[in-house]
Symmetry: C2
Subunit: 194 residues, 2 copies
């Protein structure tokens, strides 16, 4: 079921990768899916809802991959490996990444659900790392938010080229590694204190 709907989303994702959100036109989507420029309106209220559906599908896929891919089984799913995967995703699919954090996110229920799901996976990994003494103690949700924010910011700044001075820019992955190094040191301090 919904295969027409799915093919519209796929067509939109393809256009998005090629030309950004402006490159996604309902007319173009219809054309690519082999229907009239008007058929999408039977599946999506407007263009924004189609884009939100693209973002939700992409978010869902990436979370699924993080859970099921090689190296993704629970024991190997460290916070750092999840964050590295995150910045690589942003690099590989820059337009989908940008889209996932656009205007509609706040209001789209599916997208909010996917965000919550992704966050809960990260929180679980954080708890394990805390128990292993690899991350400092403290509210795991809060620490997870810190990690996510750093990975997100590093990825986004790298995409816009703002990290580089004159070519010798740190990679987003380097900054992720730096953060974990500092957190590890912070962990040791907290332990050695009363």
């Amino acid at each position: 079921m919904g295969s027409r709907r799915d093919s519209l989303i796929s067509a939109a994702a393809k256009l998005l990768d090629r030309g950004g959100p402006a490159g996604v036109t309902l007319r173009g989507v219809g054309r690519a899916a082999g229907v009239s420029h008007n058929a999408p309106y039977k599946h999506f209220a407007d263009k924004d809802q189609l884009l939100a559906a693209v973002a939700a599908r992409e978010f869902r896929r990436q979370t699924d991959l993080a859970v099921s891919s090689p190296g993704g089984f629970v024991g190997e799913r460290t916070p750092q490996s999840l964050m590295v995967r995150y910045v690589r995703w942003a690099q590989r699919y820059r337009e989908r990444f940008k889209l996932t954090f656009g205007r509609w996110v706040r209001d789209d229920e599916t997208l909010r659900f996917e965000a919550t799901r992704a966050r809960s996976i990260l929180v679980a990994a954080v708890k394990t790392a805390q128990a292993d003494g690899d991350l400092p103690a403290g509210e795991p949700e809060r620490l997870a938010a810190l990690l996510w924010a750093l990975a997100h910011g590093a990825a986004d700044l790298a995409l816009s080229g703002h990290l580089s001075t004159e070519g010798n820019a740190p990679e987003a992955e380097d900054l992720v590694a730096d953060l974990f190094r500092h957190l590890k040191r912070s962990t040791r301090t907290a332990r050695s204190l009363p």
Copy 2:
């Protein structure tokens, strides 16, 4: 000189705040500036260049404010105060913030210049904090990139609502404070080690 150009940029910024990049139309900009829908082409090659000019002006203004505002003189300009200012800027002018990290940044020379200038101010503050023992040792440019990435990611995630689970979300400012707390602890560890 350039007052017509400036008024076009101002009109564009106003439209941007009201309706995002899609709300900025060359026709609307011309109308708001009291010229024909076609006059902007004498000052900007196309719509993207107009938007890039808006972003560059905003970036420049915020950097100027960070340097000259009360509490902004050199001694008070700590990395943390700069980062708090950054996330507040994102919150207050979300559309301008988003615009500043859009597609054109990589290619626009003025925007790249402003980014370099902002980064150098942060790097200077980082060096001072390192000398005072408030931040860990290491390449200051790299540490500045870490701080900026965290502030940027926290601000961007907060804007898209992705930080909240069920309303009890950490604020972007909280995450900035958390990072500095961890870095402070990391500093002490590094000192107490051989």
